[in-house]
Amino acid sequence: MELVVFVLAAAMVLVGAIGVITRSNPVHAALSLVLTLFGIAVMFVSHEAHFLAAVQVIVYAGAIVVLFLFVIMLLGVDRSEDISIEPITAQRPLAAIVGLGVSGIVIAALVSSRSAISTSGDGIDASTVDAADANIRQLARSIFSNNVFAFEITSVLLIVAVIGTVLMARRIKLREAGK
């Protein structure tokens, strides 16, 4: 059963990923990205990481790709483009090399650490996993106790980014007004 779910989810991820780079219409490419994100969410569920699956759908599919689509639609770049033209020379061969390199490194890491993966580690506290919302409790405990500083700093970073964006957008307008 788990194999069937894995194969289906992996097929979703791969079809979506191929769609993102081969579809000439940006909206179709963004939709393929949604398919990929859903495939990953299914994989999370099959690994019992229900909370991560929900966050994956809410944040990535529900917010980030919606933002992509917004930008595509509002900027009016939603026409098909000729993807045979290469805007930056040598971009594609370089991308192929980098892609192959990264997959090579990942496969090498997997092969070299196969013994560590097959044995069950002590990453999850097995005694608390049985409860229905054990996932969320453990995650919350980890974020708000050991990693609370990193968590707060990240939120400050996000706020600074938002304020910075607003300020930059405003300054351009002020300059146009001749101030």
């Binding site: 059963m1 788990e2 779910v5 219409n25 909206v27 179709h28 939709l31 949604v34 569920v45 099959s46 019992e48 229900h50 909370f51 699956a53 929900a54 759908v57 809410i58 599919a61 529900g62 917010a63 919606v66 689509l69 917004f70 639609m73 509002l74 939603d78 229905a132 919302d133 996932n135 969320i136 307008k173 002020l174 007004a177």
Partner: protein
């Protein structure tokens, strides 16, 4: 292997025929109930609005016009199916289904009945198997509803874009901007409920609300409920927040170019969403299938087993909210777009965030053993300070705007 499906206690352990059949029947029942309820909701809305506007409303098809929706649906099936020449054909055909599927999926996590009295936690026994009167009880619970509602945005957005026409695009951009903005307020007021209940599971949330005093409506202090109700109305694109289909500005909104059965699917999804959202409000704030009980006295419906009585209570409570939605539509004029965005971002989000902090402070105070009055006073002071700062910021930005002139 069954862990993937462990959304229902029936499917834990070995997969047997009886549990599988029960689950399949449950899926079928939830689907059919959803469809029939939607059909009746359309009739209910037309009839109630007609009453409020001193008209008769549908009265020809079937008794009291009950079959009017069925007649309309059949008619729409046989209408010509048009696809605009400039449409993106694949996405144009896909969009109605993306709208419809989330409407049905969200219904799956609503506890539709069951006995929550005396610590029975809503479990019922069917042919010797323990189950809930609820299609799925995922560990992420209400987050599922949030995830589903964030998917629903796609259908509307893509429908407007793929029509290849200006007005539907404007309508869909409006709709998705509105839904994304109000999702924040929706989530934050939901957080207050989760804070009080201490669980994400819908069945667990219902289980906590055993009497009127424990209803989250009271326990979270009323404000989250009103924020949730307003943001849910905006999320549903229903009046007074139906800018999506503001006829005098946009022809008909994102579904202008749709005809025949594809249009019917949008229509169906809209009403289905209204029912689901009402059921979700009842589940989160009014105890779902729990009977009304104050203190030790419980309002019990005689002769009906407790498991089925839950369904009756849920139905009654949901009907109240369906009526409220129709009432909104009949009485409230439509918001202007900037008013809508101001309400969402400048009032609802800060208010729900502030109220959430207040509730959290009281919780912490109770566990640590601080004086409740002091905690409330201090948090009230902080909230007033925050409100004053916000007002000051609004004032400054308004003054800047007036100095700079129009910003677009």
């Amino acid at each position: 292997m069954s862990t993937v499906f462990a959304l229902d206690p029936l499917l834990e352990g070995k997969l047997l025929w009886t549990p599988l059949l029960i689950v399949l029947v449950k899926v079928l029942i939830v689907f059919v109930v959803g469809l029939v309820a939607t059909m009746l909701m359309v009739w209910f809305e037309r009839k109630v609005i007609a009453g409020m506007q001193n008209r008769v409303g549908p009265n020809k098809a079937g008794p009291w016009g009950l079959l009017q929706t069925l007649a309309d649906g059949t008619k729409l099936f046989f209408k010509e199916d048009l696809i605009p020449e400039r449409a993106d054909r694949f996405v144009f055909k896909l969009a109605p289904y993306i709208v419809l599927a989330p409407a049905f999926l969200a219904f799956a996590i609503i506890p539709l009945g069951g006995d929550f009295r005396d610590g029975k936690s809503g479990m019922i026994t069917l042919f010797g198997h323990q189950t809930r009167m609820q299609l799925a009880d995922p560990p992420i619970g209400v987050l599922f509803a949030l995830a589903i509602s964030s998917i629903a945005v796609y259908g509307i957005m893509l429908a407007g874009w793929s029509s290849g026409s200006k007005y539907p695009l404007l309508g869909s951009v409006r709709a998705s901007a509105q839904m994304v903005s109000y999702e924040a307020a929706l989530g934050l007021s939901l957080a207050a409920v989760l804070l009080v209940s201490g669980t994400l599971s819908t069945a667990g949330i219902v289980d906590m609300q055993s009497s009127v005093g424990n209803w989250n409506f009271v326990a979270t202090g009323f404000i989250p409920f009103f924020i949730f109700l307003i943001s849910a109305t905006a999320e549903l694109n229903r009046p007074p927040f139906d800018l999506v289909e503001a006829e005098q500005e946009l022809v008909g909104g994102f579904n202008t170019e749709y005809s025949s059965i594809r249009f019917a699917l949008f229509f169906l999804a809209e009403f289905m969403n209204t029912i689901t959202m009402s059921a979700l409000i009842v589940t989160l704030f009014f105890g779902g299938p729990q009977p009304i009980s104050v203190g030790n006295t419980t309002l019990d419906i005689p002769f009906i087993p407790n498991g089925i009585e839950g369904t009756v209570w849920l139905l009654l409570k949901v009907l109240v909210f369906l009526y409220i939605y129709v009432w909104f539509r009949a009485t409230l004029p439509r918001f202007r777009y900037d008013q809508l965005m101001d309400l969402g971002w400048k009032i609802l989000i800060p208010a729900s965030l502030g109220w959430f902090m207040l509730l959290a402070a009281q919780r912490v105070g109770r566990t640590v053993g601080w004086d409740q009055i002091v905690v409330t006073l201090v948090s009230a002071l902080v909230l007033i300070g925050g409100y004053a700062l916000l007002q000051r910021a609004h004032k400054v930005s308004r003054a800047n705007r007036e100095k700079d002139g129009a910003s677009f």
